[in-house]
C-alpha cells in the first residue's frame, strides 16, 4: 500500500459549505517542575544528551518509579484552571509497546482512571464566546528522543537522548466541540494562556513543552451522527494547526464527494509538503495492553491539600482582564490585549507599581513597546526597556518636561540603548522649551512667513490654526510646550 496520499481534488466552496467539520484536540503540556515525574533527574532543557538520566528514567532492571508530588500539584492546578472535576481515585497504568525511545517497553500513563474529567474552557472566535468541553486531564511520562540526524554515522545508526524520558506531561483532551479550524486555533491559544497563567507549563512549542494532535471528521450539515474520524499528529505550531485542519477537512470532503469513504487512521502532518500522510490504519493500531501499574499506588488527593492549592492558585486571565477594567479603568479591548499573555500583564502591572499612570501606560505598551518588540523579535521578558524605565519616561511626559512627540523619540532611544529617559533627554537636548519669549519668537516667524494662511484664519477658517501649531512644533523640533504655543499663536493671530 503506497504511503503517499493521492492528490486531492479541490472542493468547490458551495460543496464544502454543505459540510460541517468536527474537531477535538489532544494537547500534551510539559509540567513546570524542577525534576522528572518519577525520579530526581533535572528537567532542564538543552542539556548535553543523556546528562539528566538515572536508573529510574533509563528503566534499568530493578528500578522503580516514585511519583513526584510537585508534578501532581501542577496537574491539579491545571485541573482547577480548566474547571475540571477531580476524580476520587485515579491511578497510573502501563501502556505497552516496543520502541527504542521507551526504555521500559511501556509508558506510565493514566488510562481508565484519569486525574480529572468534565471540564470546560471558554474561547472567543469571530467575536462570539463559546464553551469547549474538556473530557479529561491525565498525567503521564514523556518518552526519549531518537536522533536520526547530525552524526557522522547517521546513515547507519541512530542515537537516543534520554534527557526527555520521564518528563512530566499532562494530556488534556477536548470534547469534539470545535467546528472550525479557527475555533481550534482559538482553543489552543486560550488553553496556552490559561496554562501559562496557572503556572502549569512554559507552553513553548519550539521546545516541545506544548504539543497538539487533532481528531477530525466531517458530516453533512444537519446530520447528527459524527463522521469517521482521522487523527492528525505533529501539529506543533499554531500555523500548522490551522493549515493542517483545513487540509484534512478538505480531504475528507473530497473523498466523500468522490463516492469514497474515510478510513479511520492516524495521519502525520508533513510540514514540508503541506499535507497529511497515512501513518497507520485501524487494522494496524497497537494493542497497548493497558493494565494498572503495580509499582505505583493509586493517587489520592486530600481535600485539605486541594484546598491549599486552590487558595494559592494564581489569578487566571479572565479574572485579570476584569480586574484591569475595574481597577485601572481600561477598555475591554485594552484589558484583553494586556492580559493576552501573563508576562505582558505582569509588565503592565510593574509599570503601574513604578508610578506609571494606568491609561498612558496601557497605551504606550500597546503602541510603542509591542511594536518594537515585534519588530525586533523579542519577548516581553527580554524588553530592553524595563517597566520602571517606562514609568520614568511617562512621568517626564506627564510632568511636561518633554512633549509626547519627544517622548516617543526618547522611548526609541531607550529601546536601542537600554539607557534611562533622563540620560537620553539630557544627551539629546529634548527637554521641553517653556521660555515664553523664545516661543513667541518662533511663533512670530511662522506667522510672518505665512501671510496667506493668516488671511484665511482671519477670514474665519479656524482649521488653518492647526497648521500654525504644527509649523511651530516643527521649528522647535517638537520641544516647544504645546500649551504655550497655542496661547501665543491665538494672541498673535487674534
Amino acid at each position: 500500500m503506497p504511503r503517499t496520499t493521492p492528490a486531492i481534488a479541490r472542493v468547490a466552496p458551495e460543496v464544502s459549505a454543505a459540510y460541517e467539520s468536527v474537531i477535538g484536540l489532544e494537547v500534551h503540556v510539559q509540567l513546570k517542575t524542577a525534576t522528572k515525574i518519577f525520579c530526581g533527574c533535572s528537567t532542564r532543557f538543552g542539556d548535553r544528551p543523556n546528562a539528566n538520566t538515572c536508573p529510574v528514567c533509563l528503566g534499568l532492571p530493578g528500578s522503580l518509579p516514585v511519583l513526584n508530588k510537585r508534578a501532581l500539584e501542577v496537574a491539579l492546578r491545571a485541573s482547577l484552571a480548566l474547571n475540571l472535576r477531580l476524580q476520587q481515585n485515579s491511578r497510573f497504568a502501563r501502556k505497552n509497546y516496543f520502541y527504542p525511545d521507551l526504555p521500559k517497553g511501556y509508558q506510565i500513563s493514566m488510562y481508565e482512571l484519569p486525574l480529572a474529567t468534565h471540564g470546560w474552557l471558554e474561547i472567543e472566535h469571530d467575536g462570539a464566546a463559546k464553551k469547549i468541553g474538556i473530557t479529561r486531564l491525565h498525567l503521564e511520562e514523556d518518552a526519549a528522543k531518537n536522533l536520526h540526524e547530525g552524526f557522522l554515522d547517521s546513515d547507519r545508526n541512530s542515537y537516543i537522548d534520554y534527557n526527555r524520558c520521564g518528563m512530566p506531561l499532562a494530556e488534556i483532551v477536548s470534547e469534539p466541540d470545535l467546528r472550525l479550524p479557527g475555533e481550534a486555533h482559538a482553543y489552543l491559544t486560550t488553553l496556552k494562556r490559561v496554562l501559562e497563567y496557572a503556572d502549569v507549563s512554559d507552553c513553548n512549542m519550539e521546545e516541545g513543552s506544548l504539543r497538539c494532535d487533532a481528531n477530525v471528521s466531517v458530516r453533512r450539515r444537519g446530520e447528527e451522527r459524527f463522521g469517521i474520524k482521522t487523527e492528525v499528529k505533529n501539529l506543533n505550531s499554531f500555523r500548522y494547526l490551522q493549515r493542517a485542519l483545513e487540509y484534512e477537512i478538505e480531504r475528507h470532503i473530497a473523498v466523500i464527494e468522490s463516492g469514497g469513504s474515510i478510513s479511520q487512521e492516524t495521519r502525520l502532518w508533513n510540514v514540508a509538503e503541506g499535507r497529511s500522510e497515512s501513518m497507520r490504519s485501524k487494522e494496524f493500531a497497537h494493542d497497548y495492553r493497558y493494565f494498572p501499574d503495580p509499582d505505583l499506588l493509586p493517587v489520592h488527593v486530600s481535600t485539605s491539600w486541594l484546598a491549599e492549592i486552590q487558595r494559592d492558585m494564581p489569578e487566571l486571565p479572565t479574572a485579570r482582564r476584569r480586574r484591569f477594567e475595574q481597577e485601572h479603568g481600561l477598555s475591554d479591548y485594552d484589558a484583553g490585549v494586556l492580559t493576552a499573555s501573563r508576562t505582558l500583564g505582569d509588565y503592565f502591572e510593574a509599570v503601574l507599581r513604578a508610578g506609571g499612570p494606568a491609561k498612558a501606560s496601557a497605551s504606550w505598551i500597546q503602541t510603542e513597546l509591542l511594536r518594537r518588540l515585534n519588530d525586533s523579535g523579542l519577548s516581553v521578558e527580554a524588553s530592553p526597556v524595563p517597566p520602571a524605565a517606562l514609568a520614568g519616561l511617562l512621568a517626564q511626559v506627564e510632568a511636561g518636561s518633554i512633549t509626547g512627540a519627544s517622548g516617543k523619540k526618547v522611548f526609541a532611544a531607550m529601546f536601542e540603548s537600554g539607557k534611562s529617559a533622563e540620560e537620553i533627554i539630557a544627551a539629546q537636548g529634548l527637554s521641553q522649551i517653556q521660555d515664553t519669549a523664545e516661543i513667541e519668537r518662533m511663533c512670530r516667524e511662522v506667522v510672518e512667513k505665512n501671510p496667506e494662511s493668516v488671511a484665511k484664519y482671519r477670514a474665519g477658517n479656524q482649521g488653518v490654526f492647526k497648521s500654525f501649531v504644527g509649523l511651530v512644533m516643527k521649528a522647535s523640533r517638537g520641544r516647544a510646550n504645546p500649551q504655550i504655543v497655542n496661547e501665543t499663536l491665538k494672541r498673535l493671530l487674534g
Partner: protein
C-alpha cells in the same frame, strides 16, 4: 588451619560470627577466605553460585577488621557471609537473573535490601543461581544449568531461589537473600531443609529487585535458624523512598519477640489444603508438626478457605500478565544481549528469541494474551477479582486465628528432570504457596521432619505486617525439635 566452631562450619550463625570477630577468634578476612574455600570446594557440583564477588567481600572484611582493631562497636550483622539471588541488583557485579539476555549486565546501583545488609556488616560473597527471571520451582530453568540439592544430589533444591537455599544448606553462606513471587523462597527453603521467609508485601523494599511480577515479588531471607531470619528481617524491613509500595509501617523488634510464649495462640488449619494432591508422607509430617504446636499449647482450629482451588490459575494469570510487561525492557537497545538484525524489528525478535529461555517465553506469551484487547476482562480482570476473594479468605481466617498452618509443598524434593516436560504439574505444585502470595500476607517455611531422608517444610502464614508472630511461632517450633518430628 582456621578455628571454626565445627569442622563443616554449618554451625556458624549471625551471632556466633559477630562474637568470633569481636573476640578476635577469627578475622573477617579469614572468615571470608574460609567461605571462599568452601564455595570453591562445593560449588562445582552444586552450581549454587553464578558469580563471586571476592573484591567486594574482602573490602568489607577489611573494613570490619579495622573496626575490631580500633576497638569500635561492630554493626549488628558484622561478618555475616551472605549470598544474594541473581535477580537482586548489585552495583558493579554482574547480575543476570540466570538469563542469557542479561549476560554481562552490571547494575550501577544496589538493591535496597542488599545495601541495608551490607551497611549492617554483611559480607557479600556472590550471586546465586535461580530459575531464569525467578520463573520456576526447581531451578532447572536457569540459563546457566540447574542447582543440585545438597541434601540429595540427584534432586532439585526447589525454586526459583534454589541457589540461595542450596548455598545456605551446604554451608557456602550463613544466610542468603532470595525473592518470593509464588513460593520462590518458601519452597526451596522447604526442599533444602532450612527456614525461609516471605515478608508481607510492602514490608521490604523491592528497589533493585528485578521484576518478575511486581504486585507479588518480595525479597526474603534464608538462614540456618529462625533467629537469624529475624535478625535479617529487622535489618531489611521498612519503608524506602525509592519504592512507593514499601510501607512506612514501623518495624518491631523481631528478635526480642522470639521467645514470647506461644501457649494459647490459635492456629488455623485449612481443610482445603489437605485435599487431593498432597503426598501422604508430607501430610503425615505436617500432622506431626501441628501436633507439636499443640503440645506447645497452641489451639488448633479447622478452617475453610473456599477460594484456594482457584489460586494457581489466578496466580498464573496475574504473574504472567505483569511479567509480559516487566520483561519488555529486554530489547537489546541499551544493555545485555543484542543480536544483530537488519531492521529494528528483526533486532528485537532475534535478541529476545536468543536471550530468553523456553519457560520465560511461555510466560510472556501467556501474559501478553491475558492482557490483550478482548481478553483482558475475562482473564486479567477476573483474576484480580478472584485475588480479592482469596485475600478475603485470609482476612476472615485471621478473624478467628492468629496464624494459618499448612504444608509448604505438596511433595518432597523431586528428581532433576522429573517434571521437566510437564510445566502444568510444576505449576500445580505451587498450590500452597501462591495463596499467601496473592493475599500479600507474610509466610515462613520451617523444617518439619524428613521423609526417606528428604526434608518437609511447614508453612506458617500470619496477618499483614505480622512477621513477629510468624517468627515467634516458627522459633518455638524449631526449638521444640520441629526439624525432627
Amino acid at each position: 588451619m582456621i578455628m571454626t566452631p565445627t569442622s563443616n562450619g554449618h554451625d556458624w550463625t549471625i551471632d556466633s560470627v559477630r562474637e568470633a570477630l569481636a573476640d578476635k577468634r577469627i578475622s573477617a578476612r579469614e572468615l571470608t577466605a574460609e567461605f571462599c574455600q568452601r564455595i570453591e570446594r562445593r560449588n562445582p557440583e552444586l552450581n549454587a553460585y553464578l558469580a563471586l564477588s571476592p573484591e567486594r567481600a574482602y573490602r568489607q572484611a577489611d573494613y570490619l577488621d579495622g573496626l575490631v582493631a580500633r576497638g569500635e562497636d561492630l554493626p549488628s550483622l558484622a561478618g555475616l557471609p551472605l549470598a544474594v539471588k541473581d535477580v537482586l541488583s548489585t552495583k558493579g557485579i554482574v547480575t543476570t537473573c540466570a538469563s542469557h539476555i542479561l549476560e554481562g549486565y552490571r547494575p550501577p546501583f544496589d538493591a535496597t535490601a542488599v545495601e541495608r545488609l551490607e551497611r549492617a556488616g554483611a559480607i557479600l560473597l556472590g550471586k546465586t543461581n535461580c530459575d531464569e527471571f525467578a520463573m520456576g520451582g526447581s531451578n532447572e530453568n536457569s540459563a546457566y544449568g540447574p542447582v543440585r540439592n545438597p541434601l540429595a544430589m540427584d534432586r532439585v533444591p526447589g525454586g526459583s531461589s534454589g541457589g540461595s537455599a542450596a548455598a545456605v544448606a551446604a554451608g557456602m553462606a550463613v544466610a542468603a537473600l532470595g525473592t518470593d513471587t509464588g513460593g520462590s523462597v518458601r519452597q526451596p527453603g522447604s526442599f533444602c531443609g532450612i527456614p525461609a521467609m516471605m515478608p508481607t508485601y510492602g514490608r521490604v523494599s523491592r528497589y533493585g529487585l528485578i521484576a518478575f511480577a511486581s504486585s507479588l515479588d518480595r525479597v526474603g531471607p534464608f538462614a540456618r535458624n529462625v533467629r537469624d531470619l529475624a535478625l535479617i528481617m529487622g535489618t531489611i524491613a521498612g519503608g524506602d523512598r525509592m519504592d512507593s509500595t514499601a510501607a512506612a509501617v514501623p518495624v518491631p523488634d523481631y528478635v526480642g519477640g522470639l521467645d514470647a510464649p506461644v501457649k494459647g495462640l490459635r492456629i488455623g488449619v485449612p481443610t482445603d489444603y489437605f485435599a487431593e494432591g498432597l503426598n501422604s508422607a508430607v501430610r503425615e509430617k505436617i500432622e506431626a508438626g501441628i501436633s507439636l504446636l499443640e503440645q506447645l499449647g497452641c489451639v488448633r482450629t479447622a478452617l475453610r478457605m473456599p477460594h484456594t482451588e482457584y489460586a494457581v490459575a489466578t496466580y498464573y494469570l496475574i504473574a504472567t500478565a505483569e511479567a509480559s510487561s516487566n520483561l519488555a525492557r529486554y530489547d537489546g537497545v541499551r544493555y545485555g544481549l543484542r543480536a544483530s538484525g537488519g531492521t529494528l524489528m528483526e533486532m528485537y525478535r532475534k535478541t529476545r528469541g536468543a536471550g530468553f529461555g523456553a519457560e520465560v517465553k511461555r510466560r510472556i506469551m501467556l501474559g501478553t494474551y491475558a492482557l490483550s484487547a478482548g481478553y483482558y476482562d475475562a482473564y486479567y480482570l477476573k483474576a484480580q477479582k478472584v485475588r480479592a476473594l482469596i485475600a478475603r479468605d485470609f482476612a476472615e481466617a485471621f478473624g478467628q486465628v492468629d496464624a494459618i498452618v499448612t504444608p509448604t509443598s505438596p511433595v518432597p524434593p523431586f528428581r532433576l528432570g522429573e517434571h521437566a516436560s510437564d510445566p502444568l504439574a510444576m505449576y500445580l505444585a505451587d498450590i500452597y504457596t501462591v495463596t499467601g502470595s496473592l493475599a500479600g500476607v507474610p509466610g515462613i517455611s520451617v523444617p518439619c521432619g524428613r521423609t526417606q531422608g528428604l526434608p518437609v517444610g511447614l508453612q506458617i502464614f500470619g496477618q499483614p505486617f505480622g512477621e513477629a508472630r510468624v517468627l515467634q511461632l516458627a522459633h518455638a517450633f524449631e526449638k521444640a525439635g520441629g526439624a525432627q518430628v
